[in-house]
Symmetry: C2
Subunit: 330 residues, 2 copies
């Protein structure tokens, strides 16, 4: 559960305050808005990358603001979309005249608020484009209806690297969309998280059970199943993700095994051992795997597997340098 | 609790297996030993840095093996020291002829086993030196009796950077010892963790209470107290750490606010806001703070504050580049 807070209604503000004090070498508060902006932004002539959503998912989103990733993150209350007004202010603050790419998870509140800000900015002459992240195969049959989970990381990395090397807004948008088209994720949960000031978890999972495909905020999953061994879970996760592989996407993949909060690193490595072997046995070449906490859900127990099917251009962007509070790559 | 495993007796081996598969771009398994070694090690003429201890504390220890930090980590079972034999084998594997520095937390099992390996290696002509980490102010009155907690990170960074720039074993040892002499930590816990295959937590904290100074494995703390607000906890942690400040250590500090596993990032940032303000109000200059999970205890709930009082030389080592699975600094 969440134990460290003062007034729960001030949780977000105090979190942003502590975060910007700790990481002032990367970013600063956006004036008069609930957002954080990379040092050096806005950069005239460079496309800006704007991300955001509810808080409670750190390092998503604020942890990825800095060189080579996002230029600004708009920060909502816990598990709540930021308002259109906040997104608008952050867009205005970060625009360097070359346009702004929005990329965020496909949730109705976010789509509504980011969409309103986008329209308002377009009306003021700022070229804004949007790539919503739809990586979660469990959330809907049609790709465009799917929600975004840890695959967010791949799109932020792709967009940020593309913008950092000076690509046009057309290109940043097209590459980020291509990354999303080639990303698939699947998650499981063992237990819910407790919001600041609440005494009961947002949802519970029965002891000895796991929820397949459950969302980051407790949205219903595919089904409940008996708890299984790490090897069995690995097999199931790989099977489900590969059954939904994008067509003609080649055989090289970036791999992200993500812990949600209280399923810890050592467990993830045990699980990863079988995931790696199974992905290789299916003929995939694994590129620079990541195992850790990249998109959380407070102290929720569970994990997700994300694959990005790389081509040469997406790989170059994935391998490009980045320097942010939560992810640095040489 | 720990949910992802197969045979609990194979947890460590499977974890090492998955870890080395994921991070083969940084390190590889030590042949015939429970350890992982940086690519490029042993490096002839370079001092090697050996770290290790029980598993369950990731990123401590294996996550810090790579360029600019440790050359090898010896990995014990969960919360259990590695054997002298394993430490000996890892020392032999990593020695490049310029000697090996051991640095690890001051726990009796570790001291015994690392001590035996050190003697055995000395007898075979390998120059081994040891700096035990003793940062936890709550664990004993006398500094040399104190245990090591998240301050480990500072000593691994110092030793690794010193060895990487080509310092002699005398110098690597002296600088690492100086860093330990200037590091102080204090931790609190809200709940215990559950080991793989067990159904009950290692220890419990009563609801509405927190344990002050509790150890990473449930060792007794100073006392139990009523749960307090983040601001009150910040004040207490800062007061206790500063009351034990090393003499004549200057006013510049590296700061590490560490989450143990299920006390999450957003909470840590709320706590950090007041910690930062209070440290500055006491006249300290804060250098590149870190807030996150740097030394865990499976899914234990709690956190710790560590300060390293820097001088120019320690700051240069702290700021030196590093590239490992869990910590990269440009």
């Amino acid at each position: 559960m969440t134990r460290l807070f003062n007034d729960p209604t001030q949780f977000k503000e105090e979190m942003i305050g502590g975060f910007t004090l700790a990481y002032s070498r990367y970013l600063r508060r956006v004036p008069d808005a609930a957002g954080v902006m990379a040092l050096g932004a806005p950069q005239p002539g460079k496309v800006a990358v704007l991300i955001g959503g509810g808080s409670g998912h750190y390092p998503v989103f604020a942890g990825y603001v800095g060189k080579g990733m996002a230029d600004v993150a708009v920060i909502g209350d816990v598990f709540t979309s930021p308002s259109g007004e906040q997104i608008y202010r952050c867009t205005k603050a970060v625009d360097g005249g070359a346009g702004v790419l929005y990329t965020y998870g496909n949730y109705s509140g976010d789509v509504l608020n980011f969409g309103m800000a986008e329209m308002r900015c377009q009306n003021e002459g700022i070229d804004v484009r949007t790539v919503t992240v739809t990586d979660d195969v469990a959330s809907a049959e049609d790709v465009e209806d799917r929600r975004g989970i840890a695959g967010d990381f791949f799109m932020i990395k792709t967009a940020g690297a593309s913008a950092a090397r000076g690509d046009s807004l057309d290109d940043v948008e097209a590459l980020t969309r291509r990354a999303n088209d080639r990303t698939r994720s699947f998650g499981i949960a063992f237990g819910g998280c407790t919001l600041p000031g609440q005494s009961e978890p947002l949802f519970t999972v029965d002891p000895g059970k796991m929820e397949l495909g459950l969302g980051l905020h407790g949205e219903p999953g595919i089904k409940s199943a008996d708890m299984a061994s790490a090897s069995e879970i690995a097999r199931m996760m790989v099977d489900i993700v590969l059954a939904d592989a994008p067509a003609d996407a080649g055989h090289k993949v970036a791999v992200l095994l993500n812990g949600l909060g209280s399923t810890k690193y050592e467990e993830l490595f045990v699980l990863y051992k079988d995931i790696h072997a199974q992905l290789e046995a299916s003929g995939l070449a694994l590129h620079n795997p990541l195992v850790g906490e990249f998109a959380g859900s407070l102290n929720m127990a569970g994990c997700s597997l994300s694959l990005l099917w790389l081509d040469d251009e997406l790989q170059a962007l994935y391998d490009a340098p980045a320097s942010t509070p939560a992810f640095t790559h040489l």
